[in-house]
């Protein structure tokens, strides 16, 4: 939870948690899941997007226009790119070579240092 989260209403806080935990949810499911009206759901989603706490993208779901509500990219767990103290070897590489020596080294680190 970051400093900005403390200014949220209880409804907004719950909504943000739902979006973060689901990893992404359509607005039409979002308000049902929270057990609030669609109008209120829409207002909360708009407000969270305006505060840049979530990303809100237009989407078609079950044949209806709606929005996909996603956590911000910056909230992703980037440590999943690490194995031990080694960062994924594909950074700055044009092609991903799954057989490269550098990737083998990364996998060794993963197997013996973390797992």
């Amino acid at each position: 939870m970051s400093a900005a989260d403390y200014d949220l209403s209880e409804d907004e806080r719950q909504a943000l948690e739902l979006i973060r935990e689901s990893g992404g949810i359509y607005q039409s499911d979002f308000w049902k899941e929270l057990d609030i009206s669609s109008r209120k759901g829409s207002r909360i989603a708009e407000s969270l997007a305006e505060q840049e706490l979530i990303q809100r993208e237009e989407a078609v779901y079950n044949g209806h226009n709606t929005y996909l509500l996603k956590p911000r990219t910056r909230d992703l767990d980037f440590s999943l790119l690490m194995a031990g103290d080694m960062l994924t070897p594909f950074i700055g590489e044009e092609e991903v070579d799954a057989q490269s020596d550098a990737f083998s080294q990364w996998l060794m680190n993963l197997a013996y240092e973390e797992y």
Binding site: G24, L76, D77, F78, L87, T88, A98, A111, Y115
Partner: protein, 173 residues
């Protein structure tokens, strides 16, 4: 300095370090607010102008810096005014998470479809067919090759792939 919150993340520091290298790191680690010239950066950081320029162009190639050129009225020289765009770092790293997930998927298939033999002396690994060709003796040193379990690595790969899929909302292929 700008983007302080992002730069606190050790993974992001590591990412910048891997991109620009140790000589470029002073440039990458302290992005100023607003526009700056390469000469200003070199003087401020006490670096060679060439090292500063090299770091800036690497950042530029990765969408993390941009420049505009201004011609000096008197001298006629072009000045490059740089701005840092570290707001793109999260998107770049998300892309790297997708690439890593792809690589893990491919490699998992290979690892689970092959049997491996190891020369413990040279730490070389051979596929079953290769090992058979060499009569199960290391072509480098002649030591007998031993069957090698890769269960532990395969499990670690599956575990990390699950975590990545979960984080990125990917369906299992």
């Amino acid at each position: 300095m700008a983007f302080e919150e992002l730069l606190e993340d050790p993974v992001i520091q590591k990412y910048l370090h891997d991109l620009v290298g140790p000589t470029g790191m002073p440039v990458a680690a302290a992005p100023p607010d607003g526009e700056v010239t390469d000469e200003e950066l070199a003087e401020e950081l006490g670096l060679e102008l060439n090292d500063v320029r090299r770091a800036l162009f690497i950042l530029y190639e990765n969408d993390l810096a941009a420049y505009r050129r201004v011609r000096d009225e008197d001298s006629g020289w072009l000045t490059y005014l740089w701005t840092f765009h570290y707001e793109n770092i999260p998107d770049n790293l998300e892309e790297e998470m997708h690439r890593l997930a792809d690589a893990l998927e491919q490699r998992l298939q290979y690892e689970s479809e092959h049997q491996f033999y190891l020369c413990e002396n040279c730490s070389l690994r051979f596929e079953f067919e290769e090992a058979m060709e060499f009569g199960f003796e290391c072509p480098e040193c002649g030591t007998q090759l031993e069957a090698m379990e890769n269960t532990r690595m395969v499990e670690a790969m599956e575990w990390r792939l699950d975590q990545l899929r979960d984080e990125l909302n990917l369906e299992a292929a």
